[in-house]
Symmetry: C2
Subunit: 228 residues, 2 copies
């Protein structure tokens, strides 16, 4: 049986490994992500290794075993289902759900997860647009790319975000940009890559490239020339 305290490591390792850029998870990354010091993390990694949840060699970094990956996906499933439930059923904003979900997700009842998932309407994606794994660990796919890769004139729809922080999510909320909103890319400023978008009833905003790379969209016009 997997301990609650293992779960946060597994989830973190999974998330770090999956981050598009990074290939292998390292101790210092994990420590940073979990807000712990490297020796603490190292100590725990040895245990996770004994439990056959990961393999770790300084050369190859931290890699989840098959079992470890399965467990990770299960934690992620629980986390995202709680976030979904808190948002859809309990009407919390998308910036509030993460912390609360972290507290609730360690309750140990598959049945409970099933029930709150059903109460939420069993969607495929959480309030941040992240895919919810099914019980076997399969993830629904969706074509998403950073808004930053857009060309002028592109029409797209927001399918997710790359960051969960309050600051970021509240910023988007203030701009009135939310999940499933349609954006029209009016202008791209070559100088710094910032993007002017129009949306809703005449709302518009100029988004810095730092923000635009964290908003995930998909084009709504066929044959759009946006990158990737």
């Amino acid at each position: 049986m997997i301990k609650t305290s293992d779960e946060k490591y597994l989830k973190a390792i999974y998330q770090i490994s999956l981050a598009e850029n990074s290939s292998k998870a390292t101790i210092s990354e994990l420590a940073y992500y979990l807000d712990l010091k490297p020796p603490t993390v190292l100590e725990r990694l040895k245990i996770l290794q004994e439990e056959k949840l990961i393999t770790y060699k300084k050369a190859k970094g931290i890699v989840l075993t098959k079992i470890g990956e399965k467990e990770s996906l299960n934690v992620i499933r629980k986390h995202r289902i709680w976030e979904t439930f808190l948002h859809k059923v309990c009407k919390f904003s998308w910036s509030e759900v993460h912390e609360l979900a972290e507290q609730l997700q360690n309750a140990n009842s598959e049945k409970l997860i099933d029930r709150i998932y059903a109460l939420s309407g069993s969607p495929k994606f959480d309030p941040h647009g992240d895919p919810i794994p099914d019980k076997s660990g399969k993830l629904p796919t969706s074509e998403r790319r950073p808004l930053l890769n857009s060309v002028e004139g592109c029409k797209c729809v927001v399918l997710g975000v790359n960051e969960d922080s309050h600051d970021f999510l509240n910023y988007l909320t203030e701009l009135k940009i939310g999940l499933n909103d349609k954006l029209f890319v009016e202008k791209i400023f070559v100088f710094d890559g910032s993007i002017k978008v129009k949306y809703k009833n005449n709302e518009n905003a100029v988004l810095s490239s730092r923000v635009a790379e964290k908003i995930l969209v998909t084009c709504t016009k066929p044959n759009c020339t946006c990158k990737n």
Copy 2:
């Protein structure tokens, strides 16, 4: 700020103190209730005392301070609201909700409690018939007495139970006795005080006095001669 680990002590002390019979909570009772050893409990009591949540003198036993009582009632509120939510909204049986609620109740969000309470229809009593304190700590009252105190011919309704154990609750469930069910006291056997009741569509059962003292009822006929 009250720590999660304080909460279980406060809740336990409150419950023990309130148990009709016992007046003062003692270390060994607490230890038994919490499934810990006396030295562990004593150690923690000293801390709770420093935190001004209880007073403890071997003579007077363990007594909650005003603040301690307020906090206890808040934990109990959270616990009972989670139980209610799990039962009413998530459709768990009354024997399943206690353990799950214990795991969920330490999530730290007043707002969450408010929302799930509203989703449950804001009832005054939990799935075991126990009163849910309001935010100020006030408990709704209800006239309840053990079924054991009945006289023959009494008609009464089940308003609660005195014990949360799986075994007990599942036993009642097998007998098809649940909250708000009407019971007719057909016969009382003087020999051992067991009670034959009829209910629902010709269901009937002979309840041992051990069971009958744990079922809480109120008479439905005016001027019933049942005790207390």
